[in-house]
Each structure stands twice: as structure tokens, then as C-alpha cells.
């Protein structure tokens, strides 16, 4: 039996508008229950929706970034079903005429690339939140639930991919690229832990080329959880098929603690959303000028930027991906690299030590105490042999802590490396004289001795000797 995994994703992104999709309540996260509500988002009788222009604008922007076609005239539909987190017991969404469709997103897997189809990007409203009260704290076994509608009505962009993904790795890569793309557009903060980025997956396993049964996976709250859930589900389905069983078409819930999926039991068996055009809203007809302006204003997106960083700066794909994950980080790199030093070295320092310092201090690149000038200076000091790479680590740490420039730190602490050959000659002579045994070993070709002699040179200079220059001199003298 030959298996092929087929994965399609459905992603919901809460747009970071100031106000909600159809009313003027704050769209901010959290707050005391029901303090960000009004007659519209509580579904009070007689209230009516009026769409938020920015939410429409940002959805078009997202659609353009995913190479979608913008629909000339799209409409909102009502999706009808009862659930306590839905104030009107219908959700205003889009159905057969979404705001955009037919896009692509290309992911680079290293050995190969894959172009993933984007079926559609549409706009809808978010639901409220239920808190389940009972011993379990979950919906199963809860005694009752408490409904909070602060989230109800926050604009939600829904992105549906074609079933073009073939492995959990591809799915994760797709989500990471989508995440950074949305962050580049500055239309959502995309926090999976706060639910502003949510992902459901459809996964099936085709056997010898014939289509498998689709299973929907919910509750994957991080990239890692998604990868684990899809890997688990892929194995579960293969095992089921191998054992002669049949995969059931169902919705399954990912349990992150147990590392398993299980069927999501719902008492609601009758599903028929009875979509029909929302009569309280008029069509969306974004004119060409609006779309053109948004298209022209699109920033360079992460996928393109990775490719350019590789070709223009000679970076490896891995480091280019790290640097382009956040728009501000990539901007920082380009600014630093533009100051005349080796871009590969600059990239290595940003992705390596600086990244770790930022991470440990929970500081964003925007408020990084080491400016791009400072970073460039650091690389210049290393390349010029003024300080060693090891010293540079300490200099960067100090620059990060004090905000002082690397050059100033080096000067103040007298850290300047000894690279002057005549000075080093004298030092090496002294060391050879003081350690005749080791010098003999070296002459006999024992490489071990070099390390010892270098250590003595460093000891004498308190680490300030340029290691390459010093070892060159030792070799010259003793071989």
C-alpha cells in the first residue's frame, strides 16, 4: 500500500481593528465579561449591523498578499445555527460570493518548493466565549456555562487553503509563512495563545492514489500543537487503513496534554446552515482605485524577502527565514548590512547572539538598545582584528545592557586586541623561552603543544592577543 497524506487548512485571523466588525464597541482583547458590548453585538431586537471600513480594507489587503482575485461585487450571508456563544443564533459570514478567491502561497521546503492554492479569503464576525463551569473545567461534564460577548463581533478573516499540503512539516511551514505574512501587513497580532490566529485542518490519507476520508481536526493552539496533531492523525489513519479498518468522516479534537485526537461529540446532529443573503447589508464593490492603491502599497512579503536575502546577501535559506520572520527584524538586518560590513557576518550576529539577548530580555527588535550602527561597528571591530569573536560576545552583551557603542566599550575597557606583529613577536619569543618542553614538542609536530603555547600567550595578554596572528607566528617559529 502506498500512502499519501492530503492536508487542507482553514485559518481564522482576528483583525486588529479598533472597533468591532459591525458596531462601535472596542475590539480589544479580554476585559470584564460583557463590558465591550452593545445592542448590536448582543443581538438585541431591532439592532442592525454596519460594516467597519478598515476590516474590509484589511481583508482585501490580506487577499492581495495571497495573490487572490478581488471579487467585483461580493455579499454577506447569514449562517444559521443555534449555539450559546452566538448572540443572534446566526453568524454574518460570506458564502458563495466571498470578497476574494483563487490565490496562492509558495512554501520553500529546502529540497523543494510547493505552491499551495488559496481557495478564498473572506470576512465574517467572531463569536463570544463560553466558560464551562464544573469540576472538569471543560465542556464535557460541565454543570453550566457562562457566556461573555466581548469577543462577539470582532472582525475575522477566514483563509481556506486547497488540500495541497502533503506533510505535517509542510503544514507547519505554511502556517509560519502565513503568520509572518499577516504580521508584515500589520493587520493582526496573530497570537495563537490569545486566539487571534486559529487553525483547523482537514486531513485524509489517500491509498494507492484513491482519495481518503476527510477528518477535521480542531483545537490546535500553536504551530507545535498543529504539527503534533497532524502527525498523530496521519499515523492513526494509516494504522486504521493498514489494519483493514475504515476512517470515519468526523471532527476530532486535539488533546495537547495527552497528545491524541478524539471524536468531538456533539448533541447537535441536525446541521443545515441555511445560508441566505444578509438582508441588513448591501453588497461590497471595492472599486479599482481602492484595490490598486492597496496592491501598490503592499510591502515586500516574507517569501519574496527570503529569496532576495539569499541572492542579494548570500545568506543561507535558514538564516534568511529567521531574519524575515518579523518585518522589523528583516528591516534591522538590511539597515545594518547596508553599513558596509559583511552581510553574512551581520546576519549571523543578529540571528545568533543578538536574537538570544532579545529573547532573554523579552525585548522586541524595535526597542533593541543596540542600534544597527552599533551592530555594524561590532562586525567591523571583529573583521579589523581589533577584538576576537569571543570578546565580541561580551562587548555585544555589554552594549545591549548599557546602550553604549561597541567601540566605546572596547576603548574604555582596554579590550583592544593585540594584532601588531612586532609586539606579538616579542611575546611569542618570551613564551618559547619560558616553555622549552612545549616548544620542543611543537617542533616534533605535536599539534597539542600549539594549544598550550597559545594558552600561554593569551594568559600573558589577558586574552587580548589576536589568536590567528599569534598562532601564525608560533607556527613560523617552531616548524
Amino acid at each position: 500500500m502506498e500512502f499519501e497524506t492530503v492536508i487542507g487548512l482553514e485559518i481564522h485571523v482576528e483583525l486588529s481593528t479598533d472597533s468591532k466588525m459591525f458596531c462601535s464597541c472596542s475590539a480589544g482583547f479580554g476585559g470584564e465579561p460583557n463590558t465591550k458590548t452593545c445592542p448590536v453585538c448582543l443581538g438585541h431586537p431591532g439592532s442592525l449591523p454596519v460594516p467597519n471600513r478598515r476590516a474590509v480594507n484589511d481583508t482585501i489587503l490580506l487577499a492581495l498578499a495571497l495573490n487572490c482575485d478581488i471579487t467585483g461585487c461580493s455579499i454577506f450571508h447569514r449562517k444559521n445555527y443555534f449555539y450559546p456563544d452566538m448572540p443572534k443564533n446566526f453568524q454574518i459570514s460570506q458564502y458563495d460570493i466571498p470578497i476574494s478567491s483563487g490565490g496562492t502561497l509558495e512554501i520553500d521546503m529546502g529540497e523543494y518548493t510547493r505552491t499551495v492554492g488559496i481557495t478564498r479569503v473572506h470576512l465574517e464576525e467572531d463569536t463570544g466565549k463560553s466558560v464551562h463551569v464544573g469540576e472538569s473545567g471543560r465542556i464535557h461534564g460541565a454543570e453550566y456555562s457562562l457566556e461573555d460577548f466581548n469577543r462577539a463581533g470582532i472582525p475575522l478573516a477566514e483563509i481556506v487553503s486547497e488540500p495541497d499540503l502533503r506533510t505535517p512539516d509542510e503544514a507547519r511551514k505554511f502556517m509560519q509563512l502565513l503568520h509572518s505574512t499577516i504580521r508584515y501587513l500589520e493587520i493582526s497580532d496573530c497570537k495563537m495563545e490569545e486566539g487571534s490566529l486559529r487553525c483547523d485542518a482537514n486531513i485524509s490519507v489517500a491509498v494507492d492514489g484513491s482519495m481518503g476520508t476527510k477528518v477535521e481536526i480542531k483545537n490546535m493552539n500553536s504551530f507545535r500543537a498543529m504539527h503534533r496533531a497532524l502527525t498523530y492523525e496521519e499515523q492513526r489513519q494509516r494504522r486504521t487503513i493498514r489494519d483493514g479498518g475504515e476512517v470515519v468522516q468526523e471532527t476530532r479534537h486535539w488533546d495537547d496534554a495527552r497528545g491524541t485526537t478524539s471524536p468531538l461529540r456533539s448533541k447537535e446532529e441536525a446541521f443545515d446552515y441555511r445560508y441566505f443573503p444578509e438582508p441588513d447589508l448591501v453588497p461590497l464593490e471595492p472599486d479599482e482605485a481602492w484595490v490598486r492603491e492597496l496592491r501598490e502599497g503592499l510591502p515586500e512579503l516574507p517569501g519574496d524577502r527570503v529569496r532576495r536575502f539569499v541572492s542579494e546577501y548570500g545568506l543561507s535559506r535558514e538564516i534568511a527565514e529567521t531574519l524575515t520572520g518579523e518585518r522589523a527584524l528583516a528591516d534591522y538586518f538590511e539597515d545594518a548590512a547596508g553599513k558596509g560590513q559583511d552581510p553574512v557576518a551581520v546576519a549571523k550576529w543578529i540571528a545568533g547572539d543578538l536574537g538570544a539577548l532579545l529573547n532573554d530580555a523579552a525585548v522586541t527588535i524595535q526597542s533593541c538598545p543596540v542600534g544597527t550602527g552599533g551592530l555594524s561597528e561590532l562586525v567591523e571591530l571583529i573583521d579589523g582584528g581589533v577584538i576576537s569573536g569571543k570578546m565580541a560576545k561580551d562587548v555585544l552583551k555589554e552594549a545591549f545592557e548599557t546602550g553604549n557603542s561597541p567601540r566605546l566599550i572596547v576603548e574604555e575597557k582596554g579590550l583592544t586586541q593585540i594584532a601588531d606583529e612586532s609586539e606579538l613577536d616579542t611575546l611569542v619569543d618570551e613564551v618559547i623561552e619560558e616553555n622549552p618542553g612545549a616548544a620542543d614538542d611543537m617542533r616534533d609536530g605535536k599539534e597539542q603543544a600549539l594549544k598550550f603555547l597559545m594558552g600561554q600567550v593569551m594568559k600573558k595578554t589577558r586574552g587580548k592577543a589576536n589568536p590567528k596572528a599569534a598562532s601564525d607566528i608560533i607556527r613560523k617559529r617552531l616548524t
Binding site: T17, D18, S19, S24, C25, S26, A27, E32, P33, N34, T35, K36, T37, C38, P39, L42, V50, P51, N52, R53, R54, A55, V56, C73, I75, F82, P84, S130, V131, H132, G134, I139, H140, G141, A142, E143, Y144, S145, L146, E147, D148, F149, R265, S266, K267, A270, D272, R274, P277, P279, L281, V282, P283, L284, E285, P286
Partner: protein
């Protein structure tokens, strides 16, 4: 266009209405009449006719993204038959 008892029951479930046996039967008879009349729309030749959803010639009606004060917590839950800690309390879902 007779509507069956099963259809009445299915639709009542979608609409979240619990009907008594008597109500269901009355509903079935009356709806069959009304549906028969309603089904006359299918007699009309609508080849090439686009459906009307709106009679107003408006498109692109928006509000600007501006936050205005919400209602008070008291107003939000004041009409609820059961509120708890500012939230609406509902019976168990599963």
C-alpha cells in the same frame, strides 16, 4: 406539496421548537396548504432572471473604525433571566 411528518420534525429541530403531536399535525396540514400556494413561484418562467436580495440601489455602506462607549454591565445583562458575574448563565451544552 404535502409536507411529511418527518420533515416537520426535522425543520422543528433546526428551528429549535418542541412541538406537541397535535401541533405537529396541525402544522403539517396548514403548511402543506401554504406550501402548495408558495410553490406556484415555480410556475413562473425565470430563465435569465437574476434574484433580488435588496431593493435599495446602495453598495459599500461603511462606518469608520472608531470606538464608541459600550453599554453598562447592568444594561448588558439587565434583561437576562440568569446572569452570573457579569456573564449570561446557560445550562450545560453537552
Amino acid at each position: 406539496m404535502a409536507i411529511s411528518m418527518e420533515e416537520v420534525e426535522h425543520v422543528a429541530k433546526l428551528a429549535r421548537l418542541a412541538l406537541s403531536g397535535e401541533e405537529k399535525e396541525a402544522m403539517r396540514c396548514q403548511l402543506s396548504d401554504v406550501l402548495e400556494h408558495a410553490h406556484r413561484v415555480s410556475e413562473v418562467d425565470t430563465e435569465g432572471v437574476l434574484p433580488t436580495s435588496h431593493v435599495v440601489p446602495l453598495v459599500n455602506v461603511f462606518r469608520e473604525d472608531v470606538v464608541r462607549p459600550s453599554i453598562t454591565p447592568f444594561e448588558a445583562t439587565g434583561n437576562a433571566s440568569w446572569a452570573e458575574e457579569g456573564a449570561f448563565r446557560v445550562p450545560r451544552i453537552l
